[in-house]
Subunit: 205 residues, 2 copies
DNA sequence: TTTATTATACCAACTAGTTTGTTTAAATTT
DNA sequence: AAATTTAAACAAACTAGTTGGTATAATAAA
């Protein structure tokens, strides 16, 4: 048994994520990370063999948290599965609640941060982000298709792209929220998505 | 008088913007810009006294183009001002058309790129982005308030945040579009905004 | 019309500092 | 004893920014 390196590695990941969301990945130097974590260069390169390895680890951890939130919202709304529209609406509501209860302004999304400096990362990371976003698309598609079985829509709606609207609003709301320095933008924008769903699915068969 | 420097400066701005949208600002080195523009360092620093001055010039140029697009859409839809809902819908349609007719995948938005490395820029640039986004909010607020005078809404809608939804969807669609490498996401998502407006404002007084 | 002047535009080479990443040896924790 | 961390020095590549000089073209004076 040697000593436990997990606290150090976790600290690197936590502080790096905050720095990357504020400065971008290329705009964050390893020295900055060392300063924030109060560790040494040796310790950093013991845990990550290169800066790009840190990039991978960061996005993978973010994707795991992201998926955990998705799964949690699915789980929490499972009791509503007999009424797929209620479930869809409550699914969105879960994220509204999550964003409302945040004490500080939400720092943003690592996917978006990476997307705007794509070229610096390898194909592996870009594919990984693509898959992560696709998971949201697939999940919303499933929720929507269940609603469609029991509800009709007044207007003709493109359901495939409607599934993307969730992440679209989330990502866009982060940007506008940060730009205007108004943390409550995120919850309010998600609320519009919920209202949109309510208006689309008006009557049961 | 010496020779005309405008083509050089324009080339720097054009190529820099493309590089920044792909690599981020910190992730773009001046040497990279020199390679793309086939000019020398001396010429670069003749036109921009620092890299940060380039950042300012880039965002200001982007903001000008952004405002020009906004004004153009307002102008093009002015003939519909007697029916404010038609005008609002056509206003959105203008951007759908714009995004549909683009030959290549739209490269993204410089505001968003900067927002995810805010810390590197001065307060001046951040305030500037804030004002630029606020202009969209104010414009949509005005269009919406005209609609509200003549139409009623079934559900109670938060009109202030509804004004933000335009930019939210635009920015979010850029990110999802880039992440999935699907250029048509942008037009499709804007189409949902249009449908949302249609559903909100159902009946005239 | 030629010549000199001047403001602008640009180039090539250089500098000072920063970056990621390496190395080594000792110290600390389990 | 094994795994983790420190400390400090180091290198190679890259970074933003500077310097001194040159080219261009319009203008003014001869």
């Amino acid at each position: 048994m040697g000593r436990d390196g997990k606290p150090t590695k976790d600290k690197i990941l936590t502080e790096s994520k905050a720095l990357v969301l504020a400065n971008g990945f290329a705009g964050t130097s390893i020295d900055q990370i060392l300063e924030r974590t109060s560790i040494t260069k040796g310790a950093f390169f013991y845990h990550f063999k290169s800066k790009n390895e840190l990039a991978k680890a960061l996005i993978k951890e973010h994707a795991m948290e992201d998926k955990a939130e998705l799964d949690q919202a699915l789980e929490k709304t499972e009791f509503l599965k007999d009424d797929p529209l209620d479930r869809l609406l409550q699914f969105v509501q879960e994220f509204i609640d999550m964003m409302s209860s945040l004490p500080a302004p939400y720092p943003g999304c690592l996917y978006a941060s990476y997307i705007y400096e794509t070229q610096n990362f390898g194909e592996e990371i870009n594919d990984f982000i693509c898959e992560s976003i696709s998971l949201w698309r697939a999940t919303l598609e499933a929720l929507l298709s269940n609603v469609l079985k029991e509800y009709n829509t007044k207007l003709e709606i493109d359901m495939k792209s409607l599934a993307d609207l969730f992440k679209v609003i989330f990502e866009g709301a982060f940007i506008v929220s940060k730009a205007l320095d108004e943390p409550d933008v995120i919850a309010k924008q998600l609320n519009h998505l919920k209202t949109y769903f309510e208006l689309i699915f008006e009557s049961k068969y």
